[in-house]
Amino acid sequence: MWSWPAFFEFLATPVMLSAAWTTVWLTIVSMLGGFALGCVITFLRTSRLRPLAAFAAFYVWIFRGTPLLVQLIIVFTGLPQIGVKLDAITAAILTLALNEAAYLSEIIRSGLSSVPKGQVEAARSIGMAPRLVMVKVVFPQAFRIMVPPLGNSVNGMLKTTTLVSFISVTELLRETQLLYQGNFKVLEGLCAAALYYLVMTTIWGFVQTKIEKRMNRSFAMDRGPRSDRRRITRDLELTSAGGQR
């Protein structure tokens, strides 16, 4: 029998809420780590030094070609055999980030290559150093292209974190399991957990739309001036009114 009170109890339990928070920060930390590492992989992949490029390709091949669950268990349960002992949460974040980096490097690479080469040349021609060109010109535009696939990855990561329950990290799924093993309300517990995930991915969807809108600002034809720029224009009108005009 389905019990509504049990279902609502699952929803309202503070432990579920705090477990959901664990899921959220696991997602955030793993994505940030994965993105940073993904940038490194992309950089290595485009390196002129063959061994580095080969290493990056090998890395992507391994991490995309094997199941994440297997990677998790290897890192947490397997590595201690050769003396590398990590606690569950460290093993979880490390593996999620390493795995995600392989996928994100592809997103980053395609984002970077979407920026017209002419702008890179223009930046170099006015004397910008390569690093400046990347930071000021290429990356901001590449990031705009990356946002939709990156958002997709965040959505995926929110759900992928369930896998770390296998290595005893008490995130939302494992917390639910612990709870229903006590009261035997299995269906109510899992449905409540599913609803939590749905809410988290939905909220993320809204956030992503906001970010996309913001990123598209400079590409919208009908945009008005940015508020911090209005002042400059006003100052300018004053100057040119008194100046040569």
């Binding site: 040349e121 223009a122 004397g127 600002r217 940015r226 100057t239």
Partner: protein, 270 residues
């Protein structure tokens, strides 16, 4: 900057007060089998406006890009204000400069591109101010003020807040020119600055260039704008197959081209 700005002793001894802004000697560049530039000799003095004319693939763009060391050269020598561009050492033992040194050298030459290449993520103001802010390390307020002056000088002060996509081609190119001017270059290298523009907007860009000429700006222009050439050019250079085939004053060249190749070309273009 220091190593690049010193006047070379032999030039000082020879009594050459001011070296030419650009001096190319025996410059050769190939892409595999394809000879892009062959034995190019070219001197650009202060205030000169030199037109490069020729069909596409004749080497005009490549020539401009080598001066800005966007392209390496196979042999020969390019000097900007007396300093060798892109390399150190001589002959076979010469070495390509590090990217950092190249970056410093590029500050004296500014390029304007056929397709404008404005930074799409920045407003016009930020585009023009970018070199000052990021390269010259000018304070933001001063950089903005200077950028506004420059935008005003190309008649686009009211577009300061706009992003490139909100502008017409002619306006984008004027922003491109202002961005190049912000670096106070010794020479402007303009690569077909009006070729991608609507006929109506060509004039607004040419007016800006003409004004720069009257202010004494040294320019090297790859362009077929005959009227502009006649009004401003000190020399017209006709290129074909990576070589300089003919050179002369605009009146000489357009009125009475000597080589068959130039005659053919002009009959097609005019």
């Amino acid at each position: 900057m220091n190593a690049n700005t010193t006047v070379r002793p032999q030039e000082a001894d020879a009594g050459v007060d001011i070296p030419p802004v650009v001096q190319m000697t025996n410059v050769r560049k190939t892409y595999g089998q394809f000879v892009a530039l062959d034995d190019i000799d070219l001197t650009v003095n202060r205030g000169d406006v030199i037109f490069l004319i020729g069909s596409s693939g004749s080497g005009k763009s490549t020539l401009l890009r080598t001066i800005n060391s966007l392209e390496p050269i196979d042999s020969g020598e390019i000097r900007v204000c007396g300093d060798v561009i892109g390399y150190e050492g001589l002959g076979a033992s010469r070495k390509r400069l590090s990217e950092a040194r190249l970056t410093t050298q590029r500050r004296r030459t500014a390029m304007v591109f056929q397709h404008f290449n404005l930074f799409a993520n920045m407003t016009c103001l930020d585009n023009v101010a970018s070199g000052l802010r990021f390269v010259r390390k000018t304070k933001p307020a001063a950089a903005n003020a200077r950028a506004l002056e420059l935008l005003d000088s190309v008649g686009l002060v009211d577009k300061a807040d706009k992003y490139p996509i909100q502008l017409s081609g002619g306006q984008m190119q004027r922003v491109g020119i202002a961005r190049a001017l912000a670096m106070e270059p010794e020479v402007m290298l303009l690569d077909e600055p009006t070729s991608a523009l609507d006929p109506e907007t060509v004039k607004e860009v040419l007016d800006v260039l003409l004004r720069l000429h009257h202010e004494g700006m040294t320019m090297l222009v790859a362009s077929h704008e005959m009227k502009f050439a006649k009004a401003a050019a000190s020399e017209v250079i006709f290129m074909n197959g990576g070589r300089i085939v003919e050179r002369g004053t605009p009146t000489e060249f357009f009125g009475n081209p000597k080589t068959v190749r130039a005659q053919e070309f002009l009959s097609k273009v005019l």
